[in-house]
């Protein structure tokens, strides 16, 4: 993943520069932690890399794809197949069971092995017994584990985690970080973790800091 001079400006009466000429590259299989205070631009960076928002200027290349040049339809496919995202607020769909939440991205791609892959991942994140529960019946840690399973179900090679422990107590937070590191090693995925917690960043291979939209290596 390579970012070159990426900027993001939110327009308005007083435009907000969320990212200011950020240049960054992440090697395959690397675990990068992006730290920094709230409002520093961490989430914005992850959203741009995840293809759920577009940069104002600069380029982001994932594999051999320049995200800026992808039309909406291909960007949708990119999100569906190539990148998995774990959010601070889990963003599980309340009206679907845990299993259905995990199956969904795979089903969207028309894969027939969605149920199989979901079972495997739920087993991996130790939620097999809770697979028929709804998200609101789970604890915070369980919800985030389900979200990790969902992020990995498509076989994405890039996992983005946006403050995945921000809404968890320290014990559950540590469990989640350990799980992310484990699956990275097992599956060889690249991980970019956005966090404001130094302790969370310690499990990463490399750490960069984003402050006021600028990168500090």
């Amino acid at each position: 993943m390579v970012c070159e001079s990426v900027s993001k400006v939110y327009p308005g009466a007083q435009p907000v520069v969320a990212l200011d000429s950020v240049t960054l590259s992440v090697a395959p299989g690397e675990f990068l932690a992006v730290i920094g205070p709230s409002g520093g631009g961490k989430s914005t960076l992850l959203h741009l890399v995840a293809g759920i928002d577009r940069a104002t200027s600069g380029s982001i290349t994932v594999g051999n794809r320049d995200l800026a040049s992808l039309p909406e339809s291909l960007l949708t496919l990119y999100r569906r197949r190539d990148v998995g995202v774990v959010f601070q607020f889990f963003n599980l769909l309340a009206h679907l069971t845990v299993r259905e939440n995990v199956e969904l991205p795979r089903l969207l791609d028309g894969a027939r092995d969605a149920a199989e892959r979901a079972s495997e991942l739920l087993d991996r994140v130790d939620l097999a017994r809770r697979s028929d529960a709804h998200p609101y019946e789970l604890s915070g840690g369980e919800m985030q584990r389900a979200a990790i399973a969902r992020a990995l179900v498509t076989g994405a090679r890039l996992l983005l985690a946006d403050e995945p422990t921000g809404n968890l107590d320290s014990r559950h937070g540590e469990e989640v970080l350990a799980l992310i590191d484990e699956v990275r090693r097992e599956r060889g995925v690249t991980v970019i973790l956005a966090t404001h917690s130094d302790s969370a960043a310690r499990s990463a291979d490399r750490t960069v800091e984003l402050k006021d939209g600028r990168l500090r290596l």
Binding site: I52, E72, R80, F87, E100, L104
Partner: protein, 854 residues
């Protein structure tokens, strides 16, 4: 679409299962709209079908019909005798009679030639079966009746039927019973079939028949015979295709039917707003889920599809419920529409219920399309939910870009277009541009409503805070904080209420105008008509009645009115009326549009042989004072100069009024439809009425009423005509108020966390409940204010464009302030009540749960 069932469950069916009551309201909205459309469509179709069936029963297998300006004289039948070589022909005399058996029922009397008729019109005799019995059929004074009619009136062969026709009492003897088919189906089966001479005598038409139907043998060239006939027919007679009568009958009430359909569609439009509201709320509430799904790679099409399927499901459920309701409502609608049609358009129209199937199909199609259209806009909006910012907590309504300046400009364009369309004339006789202008006003309302919400909230903030303190301030913030959602509720209510205001103002204006017209037009003190008691008025009066009335002491004048169908030079049907202009020049008549004295104009017209035309005629055919018009008369087509245009609400196809002497000379018709009697000063109308009945009641079957009673009857017919409109309006407003409740409940649920936080910082339950109630009231107030503006525009379009173009009637606007205030008060009260449930939900918000979420 891959994974679509899960997407649908995540966004639509899951939430609906958890809150089924909320899902019911838009279903109810569509159901009410579909029920109204189905019922009105069914009633209208019943009218058209009944006219068509009756005309078809009379036309039978005829290929051509010979008609005349004053019927077809019997002696002219000789000129048709050549037809026996190529086919057959049969004369028909038709008219109405009232059964004098106490039922007061109006029946059609059809005089036919039993011999020639069998080739043209189907008649199946059930009894008598014997040849001897059949001979009695053609004996004078005999009649055949359909079996169901005989059963209903307990008639058998040999029974005598007392009736009143042509202003005199008569009796017919039942000589045979007919199967309910062919000719017996005319007028819905309420028919007495006699021989030509019996009917002609009974109806006072000695020497003429109404029409002659011609059926040609197979292989005979219709065009050749038509040419031959046109050569041979004497002046004053002409040919018509057999379907012409049905067309004419069907067209009579079409503007009335069209307007009813438009009203039913309005009810559906309110339902559409509820669907749009429900789907829009659904989209707003599911923003985070939509964003998550988008972040997971769900396509825009899948999101759009999920919400469109929601619209489809709402439409389908509403349509099913609406069809059931429509079936129940159709009986009431049919009765009301049939009542109006028979009192305004055709007294003999027997409107029987048509098959409900086509109405059900049409209403289902309209309901489904409406629901899908209503869902499409918010569904499209759902696809624009960006995956990123929407996932942040608290982004729901605030994130919505309202683009107020763009909406305001678009609203201005819509209003400008509406003004342009209001200046356009009708298309093919229908006020399509006028209705399009109404639709544009509704569009402008919808576009402006979020801005109105903001303005309303801003304007109400200080007064509400001053009166109610913190809840008042909170209410204005709550209301103004959700301009998109509250805008939809405001639009739905303002549209329904605006239309209601417009209908109230229109009906009041028309009623006032009609009352004024009746008061100035009905200058006579008494009205004498042929009748049989119980208010059943039918047929003409014999000419002798004029002399009899003139000889009554206390009578200063008699105006013998003659009203009948006629044709202009192009063969278009119109009403020809004649009146004694000498009486008009003394007593006055209908006011003239240009304000001239009707007495002077009548006197001048009598001297110069000019005619007056009614306002609907003048509008329909674009003629005015000084123009020449052409009428078909027994002497051929004649031209007349128009002396003036008078106000007339008696029919909408147009009337040409001429002096009785001129009419009599041209049409050789001396009969009288009704007679206006002027009393000498000091003579009481009631005493005169009693005297006339005692003096002429033996010879004639008369219905004599005072002008006051006649005015009351006219206004009763008016009120009955608009009863359907009132019911439809009430339904539309009720549905719209329910829409406010729906919007507020959704809003309260969505903002439960905010309410919980308010509770956590010290707000009491009653303060929160009060704030939501005030928000509901504010919604009602802003909607009422918008409705007043929209209602004024609707009223202007109804009175200034749609009404004159549909019916040709110009109406003096009246603003019924009291009725409008009552309607507004009811709606404001209902709006406040609509806040009770959401107020309860908001007040019950749990502060601990809200803090936990935080």
């Amino acid at each position: 679409m891959k994974g679509f069932p899960l997407i649908f469950r995540a966004l639509v069916s899951g939430p609906a299962r958890r809150r089924p009551i909320r899902a019911l309201l838009p279903v109810l909205g569509v159901a009410v709209g579909v029920a109204a459309v189905a019922a009105i469509h069914h009633a209208n179709r019943s009218v058209t079908e009944s006219f068509r069936e009756s005309a078809q029963a009379i036309a039978g297998k005829s290929d051509l019909v010979v008609v005349g300006a004053r019927g077809v004289p019997l002696e002219s039948l000789e000129s048709l005798s050549f037809l026996w070589r190529v086919g057959s022909f049969a004369p028909l005399v038709s008219g109405n009679a009232v059964l004098a058996d106490g039922s007061g029922e109006v029946v059609a009397v059809l005089g036919t030639d039993y011999g020639g008729d069998s080739q043209i019109r189907e008649m199946r005799l059930v009894s008598p079966a014997t040849p001897a019995g059949r001979i009695a059929l053609s004996s004078p004074g005999s009649a055949l009746v359909p079996v169901p009619f005989a059963k209903r009136h307990a008639l058998a062969i040999g029974s005598r039927v007392p009736l009143v026709a042509g202003g005199v009492r008569a009796e017919l003897t039942i000589a045979g019973l007919l199967e309910l088919s062919g000719l017996a189906r005319a007028s819905g089966g309420d028919v007495l079939v006699t021989d030509v001479f019996t009917a002609a005598r009974l109806l006072g038409r000695a020497g003429t028949v109404d029409r002659v139907d011609v059926a040609l043998d197979p292989g005979v060239s219709r065009d050749a015979i038509r040419e031959e006939l046109e050569r041979r027919l004497p002046p004053g007679l002409w040919l018509e295709p057999p379907g012409r009568t049905a067309q004419t009958a069907g067209r009579m009430a079409r503007a009335f039917r069209f307007n009813l359909n438009a009203l039913a569609t309005l009810t559906l439009a309110v339902g559409m707003f509820l669907v749009a509201n429900a789907v829009s709320v659904s989209v707003l509430r599911r923003r985070a889920e939509i964003a998550t799904l988008r972040a997971l790679g769900t396509s825009r099409a899948a999101i759009f599809g999920a919400f469109l399927v929601e619209g489809f499901a709402v439409g389908a459920a509403g349509t099913v419920a609406g069809e059931i309701g429509g079936l129940a409502l159709s009986r009431a609608a049919l009765s009301a529409v049939a009542g109006t049609v028979s009192s305004v358009y055709s007294r003999t129209a027997k409107i029987s219920g048509a098959d409900f199937g086509p109405a059900a199909v049409a209403a289902a199609a309209v309901g489904m399309v409406a629901a899908l259209l209503a869902a499409a806009l918010p569904a499209a909006e759902a696809t624009r939910v960006p995956p990123s910012p929407a996932m942040r907590p608290g982004s729901a309504d605030a994130a919505r870009q309202l683009r107020l300046p763009r909406r305001t400009i678009a609203a201005g364009v819509a209003i400008a277009l509406a003004v342009v369309l209001s200046l356009a004339g009708p298309i093919n006789g229908f006020p399509y541009p006028g209705f399009a202008a109404v639709a544009l006003v509704v569009t402008a309302l919808a576009l402006l409503s979020p801005a109105l919400v903001r303005i309303g909230a801003s304007a109400a903030r200080r007064p509400l805070e001053k009166i109610f303190g913190a809840p008042g301030r909170l209410a204005s913030r709550l209301f103004g904080g959700s301009p998109a959602r509250n805008g939809i509720a405001v639009t739905a209510l303002a549209m329904a209420l605006g239309m209601t205001f417009a209908m109230i103002a229109t009906i009041a204006s028309m009623r006032t105008t009609v009352r004024t017209w009746v008061e100035t037009t009905l200058a006579a003190d008494l009205w004498v008509r042929g009748g049989a008691g119980r208010g059943a008025i039918v047929g003409d009066l014999p000419p002798e009645i004029v002399g009899v009335l003139e000889s009554v002491p206390g009578v200063s004048g008699v105006d013998p009115l003659r009203i009948r169908e006629g044709f202009d030079g192009a063969g278009r049907a119109l009403t020809i009326a004649s009146s004694d202009f000498r009486v008009l020049s003394r007593a006055g008549g209908s006011p003239l549009l240009d304000g001239r004295d009707s007495r002077r104009v009548a006197d001048a017209a009598r001297r110069s042989g000019e005619v007056l035309v009614s306002e609907p005629y003048a509008r329909r055919y674009a003629v005015g004072r000084g123009d020449a018009i052409r009428l078909r008369t027994p002497e051929g087509v004649r031209s007349f100069r128009v002396a003036g245009v008078y106000r007339d609400f008696s029919n909408d196809r147009g009337t040409v009024l001429m002096d009785r002497a001129l009419y009599r000379d041209l049409f050789h018709d001396v009969r009288v439809t009704s007679a206006g009697v002027l009393a000498r000063p000091g003579t009481s109308a009631e005493a005169l009425r009693r005297y006339i009945l005692s003096r002429a009641g033996d010879r004639f079957a008369l219905d004599v009423i005072t002008t006051r009673e006649l005015r009351r009857q006219v206004l009763q017919i008016f009120d009955r005509t608009f009863a359907v409109a009132n019911v439809l309006e009430a339904i539309a407003v009720a549905v719209a108020v329910a829409g406010i409740a729906n919007a507020l409940i959704a809003s309260a649920v969505e903002r439960r966390r905010s309410f919980g936080l308010l509770r956590a910082v010290g707000a009491s339950r009653s303060q929160i409940r009060g704030a939501v109630l005030l928000e509901a009231l504010l919604t009602g107030i802003v909607a009422t204010a918008a409705a007043l503006a929209a209602g004024a525009a609707f009223t202007a379009l109804l009175l200034g464009v749609i009404n004159p173009q549909s019916f040709g009637w110009s109406v003096v606007p009246t603003i019924p302030v009291g009725r409008l205030a009552v309607a507004a008060g009811i709606v404001l009260g209902a709006s406040l009540a609509a806040g009770l449930v959401p107020g309860g939900i908001a007040a019950a918000a749990d502060p601990a749960a809200a803090l936990a979420e935080e």
